[in-house]
């Protein structure tokens, strides 16, 4: 059986193709303005990687904030369910109890019970502080490629305290710090700390239980992971490809739905 999960995030669009519940292809691209077009392009990319054709796909499930915009999907599912499903599959033996999923424009904390079912969750999609956007925009202010932020921040010996919460104010604050001659690595480490502080505060409200699973695009940033672990005072599990966990979850749900339809 071949299924696909399409995750239309605010910033990136992710597609995962599963063949007999194994990942055989994936694609990631900026979401852009034409969500439907981008979803088709990214699916083509994933098909190319998996050496499959579109009509070989049995079922497609879309998720993410733009999930209703794509014409590809047979069905849609909320990103909370899709993310949890992805974690259940990826982390079956890890004993995950808390998921911290950081996206481009929102952040989710999901609490799982001992059977890996969702028991509680919190979501911030109201404020850019503590989301991937915070890192993305401040990287631009610093004129540092987003992908270099992690490695650079690890060089810091004296992280700067970012005192403002609002991203708009943080932009001026960072510009001011550069002007005053603070080192870039110290500013970046400070930015990671600021995001980590907000995420951990949010996770504490939901309740933190080991093992903690950290995913979403910004989880690729090793500096962000280090800042989170420092703030939490414990280690987290970060998957190999944290950006496509939710798309994987959607593709897994597609398997279930297709089986259900077949049996009914």
């Amino acid at each position: 059986m071949i299924t696909a999960g399409v995750d239309l995030g605010s910033t990136y669009l992710k597609v995962v193709i599963l063949k007999d519940k194994k990942r055989v292809g994936y694609g990631v691209a900026p979401t852009g303005h034409d969500h439907d077009l981008t979803s088709k392009q990214v699916l083509d990319e994933a098909l190319l990687m998996s050496d499959l054709k579109k009509d070989e796909i049995d079922y497609i499930v879309s998720t993410g904030y733009g999930r209703r915009v794509t014409s590809l999907a047979n069905e849609t599912i909320s990103e909370i369910s899709a993310n949890a499903r992805g974690v259940q599959w990826l982390g079956e033996e890890l004993g995950v109890r808390t998921i911290i999923d950081i996206g481009g424009q929102d952040t989710k904390v999901i609490a799982l019970d001992d059977d890996l079912q969702i028991i509680n969750f919190a979501m911030n999609d109201k404020c850019a502080a503590g989301t991937g956007r915070f890192l993305e925009i401040l990287a631009r202010v610093l004129d540092v490629p987003l992908d270099d932020m992690g490695a650079l921040s690890l060089k810091s010996k004296d992280p700067v305290d970012i005192t403002t919460t609002c991203l708009v104010f943080a932009k001026s604050e960072v510009a001011n710090l550069i002007f005053q001659g603070y080192k870039k690595e110290d500013i970046i480490a400070g930015i990671h700390k600021a995001v980590a502080r907000r995420l951990v505060a949010m996770a504490k409200k939901v309740g933190i239980r080991k093992v903690i699973f950290f995913d979403g695009g910004p989880a690729r940033n090793i500096g962000m992971v280090a800042a989170m672990e420092r703030e939490l005072g414990m280690k987290m599990h970060v998957p190999d490809m944290p950006q496509i966990v939710t798309a994987t979850g959607a593709a897994l749900l597609a398997v279930n739905r297709f089986e259900e339809k077949g049996s009914s």
Binding site: A128, T163, C166, L167, N176
Partner: protein, 311 residues
Amino acid sequence: MVDVAKNPVIASSKNLAASANGFYDIGIDVGAISTKVLILHNAKDIIGKKVLPTTMQPDKLAKKMMDLLLKEQGIKREAVKHIIATGQGRKVIDFADMARTEITAFAKGAYFLFPQAEVAVDVGGQGIRVMKLGEMGIVSDFRTNVKCSSCTGCFIDAMAIALDVGIENVGELSSSSLNPETISTTCTIFAESEVVSLVAKGKKKEDILAGLNAMVAKKVGAVINTTRTRGPVFLGGGVGLNVDVIRKLKERLAMDIYVPAYPQFVGALGAALFAPNPLIEEEEYEEYEDEEEKSQEKGSFFSRLRSRREK
């Protein structure tokens, strides 16, 4: 529009020729977004004022603005009795004789311009501040929001840039809307993206602006309502220049809202009015000064600029 003739301070600035004698005080308001400098004559008449975007070196900027103003008015530096600074960056102004917090300065300016006010609101570049005014315009209670930029001056600024509309035209353009859009995001950063996608969908600029202004009026109205006032309300700060926000706010609150002719200069005016005057007892303000320092000063970047210089 605001009736200039109703405003005693602005109106009397016409009598400039008659004011060759007397003394001058200067008020400097270093805001997060813009710096305002004003010359006050005989503790009552504004005879010159300037506003420019705050730079990385606010002290140099303020000095330049002050010197320019004095030159324009033909006033010698020695004729200036006192220089008083206010605003988030007030302590960076090392040539000032004294500094006052933005709350106390704004309240002073508000009381001077509109003594009937029960509540004064400052909708500035980076924050919304609401003050309850007691007897003699003394602040009896205040609330500030300086954590979130939503619905502040820089929010409107960012939206104007996203829409490619001059900030000074936002109010009037928005007033012409017949079909206001609904803006679903609160965060300035997210609203920026929302505005861009609304434009991409072919929505009219005036309708988008009307939606944004309605959001600002709602927020400012909610802040005013926390004081449980029935008015009259004094409103200052740069957002006071946005006629559509003011109109929507008046409709929403159904109370008397007074906006001075130059809402941006209320803080600078209040600061200049703090020049030593035997009629005013300074001590009554001390308490609020301390409280506010604690809540606002902690680690702002102006304070960091200062501490770094001290090193």
